[in-house]
């Protein structure tokens, strides 16, 4: 159970830090420092944070194109993550990956992913490895309402269910898949039905509410860790920014965006913390300043990091070692 005293401030701080990080990306794109596509998840922080607060370093996550929050919430360094997004030498992948391919082996981050839905199969595989090796880890797949229309979800739900794999299927329903409104893309809007159709217990949660996500994830992680199998969490959420830099957003109204801001997960949690006296008046402003400074530092680090040596383009394709023996 989410405990406001134990988890409140920690969760709020992490959400705010991720938001501060993500909010800078459009300007960095504008400045020409980010190539290709980068997808910020401002507004959706409660999902990644609520889930990750229940995870350990040994656990695995497989993310999607909108994956910075998942990665950072899992413990990734903000500077190295930013450096990767900027294609720099000190990025987690030495600039080879970029925003859509950030992996952090030691944190079990099996990558943000450029293929919508792919993380679903990858998390299932991580959970399979956990079961085969008995290492006690669990795995999380993050995907969107759009990704839920990939057939691999059905296959993964079924496989995880029959084998009782320790995996969480976390669907972030932010109501749009790029520019496609989800009401036009599904006929049955209750995504929990999908999990249940394959024998995976599924729960719908308010994805703009950290405690709600936390509690659902806690139950699901415990279930997985105990060998009782997979769960699905359907989080209702929203992205405040465009799908990616340059999005004209012709597919939604400004009013709708404004409306969702009134459910903002940071504001809501902060209000609760202030109302319950955990956060003193004025205290959050100071924390926010600190966070801004931390992200300033991360950005400085990333900007200062050199571009990779062109010769490194040819390394890391194949391993040269093999099985080390038992």
């Amino acid at each position: 159970m989410f405990d406001l005293h134990e988890h409140g401030l920690k969760g709020l701080r992490l959400m705010a830090k991720i938001r501060e990080f993500e909010q800078r990306l459009p300007a960095l794109s504008q400045e020409g420092l980010i190539r290709g596509s980068t997808h910020p998840s401002v507004g959706m922080e409660a999902v990644a944070v609520g889930v990750s607060m229940n995870l350990e370093a040994r656990d695995a996550i497989a993310s999607n194109h909108r994956g910075h929050a998942h990665t950072l919430a899992k413990g990734a360094d903000f500077g190295r993550t930013m450096a990767e997004i900027l294609g720099r030498r000190d990025g987690y992948c030495g600039g080879k990956g970029g925003s859509m391919h950030i992996g952090v082996a030691e944190l079990g981050v099996l990558g943000t992913n450029g293929i919508v839905g792919a993380g679903i199969g990858i998390a299932t595989g991580a959970a399979l490895a956990a079961q085969v090796s008995g290492d006690g880890s669990v795995a999380v797949a993050y995907f969107g309402d759009g990704g839920a229309n990939q057939g691999v979800l059905a296959e993964a739900l079924n496989l995880a269910a029959i084998w009782s794999l320790p995996v969480l299927f976390v669907l972030e329903n932010n109501h749009y898949a790029q520019s496609a409104a989800i009401e036009q893309m599904v006929a049955q809007p209750d995504f929990t039905r999908r999990g249940e159709a394959y024998g995976v217990p599924a729960i719908a949660v308010d994805g703009m509410d950290l405690p709600a996500v936390y509690d659902a994830a806690e139950t699901a992680v415990a279930r997985a860790r105990a060998g009782e199998g997979p769960s699905m969490i359907v989080a209702d959420t929203y992205r405040y920014l465009g799908h990616m830099a340059g999005d004209t957003e012709i597919y939604r109204s400004k009013d709708e965006v404004r409306e969702w801001h009134t459910r903002d997960p940071l504001t809501r949690l902060r209000t609760r913390l202030e109302e319950s006296g955990i956060l003193a008046a004025g205290e959050w402003e100071r924390t926010q300043e600190q966070i801004t400074a931390e992200i300033d530092e991360a950005e400085r680090y990333a900007r200062a990091s050199a571009l990779p040596d062109p010769a490194s383009a040819h390394t890391d394709v194949y391993a040269t070692q093999g099985w080390a023996g038992r």
Partner: protein
């Protein structure tokens, strides 16, 4: 199709024009894909489907869910049932999600069933690198498609060919993989609004000293290289095959007859890439015509990396082309005792 006066257009506009003309002319044609009516100013990720829905309505211009597998399976069958689907796959990398539909089904349907079905299907998508889209949005998969019996493969390099090949692709009764290049959408060129027959190479630049076969970005690199090489006294003849299946070896061999040297360049991974087929065919059929060993340039054996200096390193450009030409011509001149 009403006669139209030639225009200078970007590739995406040329393609958009083609789609408008196709939907106007061919009642069986319809267009579908992800975000094709709701993105940008209402026209898909690179604008190619712009305003189609306004004119032809949501029955013939359909936004789809993110379900590449069923889409790629369904369009082949829709084609076999008498329609002419034009499916946009946002990036060619995503087509890998539906390879069963393309390779096991659409490509084989005509043959397996003894010629009973035509499959007039077009899968429009984009490949290639150059704009930092990284490993899963930048592959050049044309060789794979060209290797599959039953498929036709178009790889337009200019706005004019983009228009003409697309119109042609929809008219033919075979499944076509229509591979646009993501870094050429904003290139401008003359569009004469005429269909372009498949299997007819275009001589993009006439020359006498070396034959260069190349497509898309590497074709443009070759054209840039040719200017520099001309200053060095080497006149390259540059050939754009335009389609990889059917392919036009006659034009290539005709050119070699004159130039006696061959280079093939592409962005696809060099190992087992389509350049090998061109070189192998020339070696088999026109062995005596070459005065020096042929040479290929192509993508490195790596996925496409994100960071710019890395991306540039793994795909061939103007400099690699110049070096290749010098090496091939140099070999001959050295042999002939001429200083290279």
């Amino acid at each position: 199709m009403t006669e139209k006066t030639p225009k200078n257009l970007t590739t995406w506009r040329a393609l958009n024009s083609a789609l408008h003309d196709i939907l106007a002319d061919i009642p069986e044609a319809f267009v579908l894909g992800e975000d094709i009516t709701t993105w940008g100013t209402g026209g898909g990720i690179y604008g190619v489907t712009r305003k189609l829905v306004d004119v032809y309505g949501p029955g013939r211009v359909r936004d789809t869910p993110i379900s590449e597998e069923v889409l790629l399976a369904a369009v082949g069958a829709a084609a076999a049932r008498g329609t002419r689907p034009i499916l946009e796959i946002m990036y060619s990398d995503f087509s890998l999600l539906g390879f069963d539909g393309i390779i096991n089904q659409a490509a084989k349907a005509r043959y397996m069933f003894g010629g009973q079905f035509d499959v007039p299907l077009v899968i429009r998508t984009n490949g290639g690198s150059g704009i930092g889209k990284a490993a899963q949005h930048s592959q050049s998969l044309e060789t794979i498609f060209a290797h599959v019996p039953g498929l036709e493969v178009a790889v337009p390099a200019t706005p004019g060919d983009a228009y003409g090949l697309l119109v042609q692709a929809v008219r033919t009764d075979n499944p076509t993989i229509f591979l646009e290049h993501k870094n050429l959408y904003y290139d401008k060129g003359e569009v004469d609004f005429q269909p372009v027959a498949f299997g007819q190479a275009r001589i993009a630049r006439p020359g006498t000293d070396v034959t260069v076969v190349a497509t898309q970005q590497v074709l443009h690199a070759a054209l840039a290289a040719a200017d520099q090489l001309a200053e060095e006294g080497i006149e390259a003849e540059i050939i754009d095959p335009r389609t990889l299946y059917p392919f036009d070896m006659e034009t290539v061999i005709g050119s070699i007859r004159k130039t006696r040297h061959l280079i093939v360049g592409h962005e696809a991974v060099r190992d087992y890439g389509w350049g090998a087929e061109f070189v192998a065919q020339v070696a088999e059929e026109a062995w005596d015509l070459l005065d020096a060993a042929p040479r290929r340039i192509g993508g490195a054996r790596t996925p496409i990396p994100y960071s710019e200096p890395l991306e540039r390193t793994v795909t061939p450009g103007r400099d690699e082309m110049i070096a290749a030409v010098r090496a091939v011509r140099g070999a001959t001149m050295a042999e002939a005792g001429t200083p290279a």
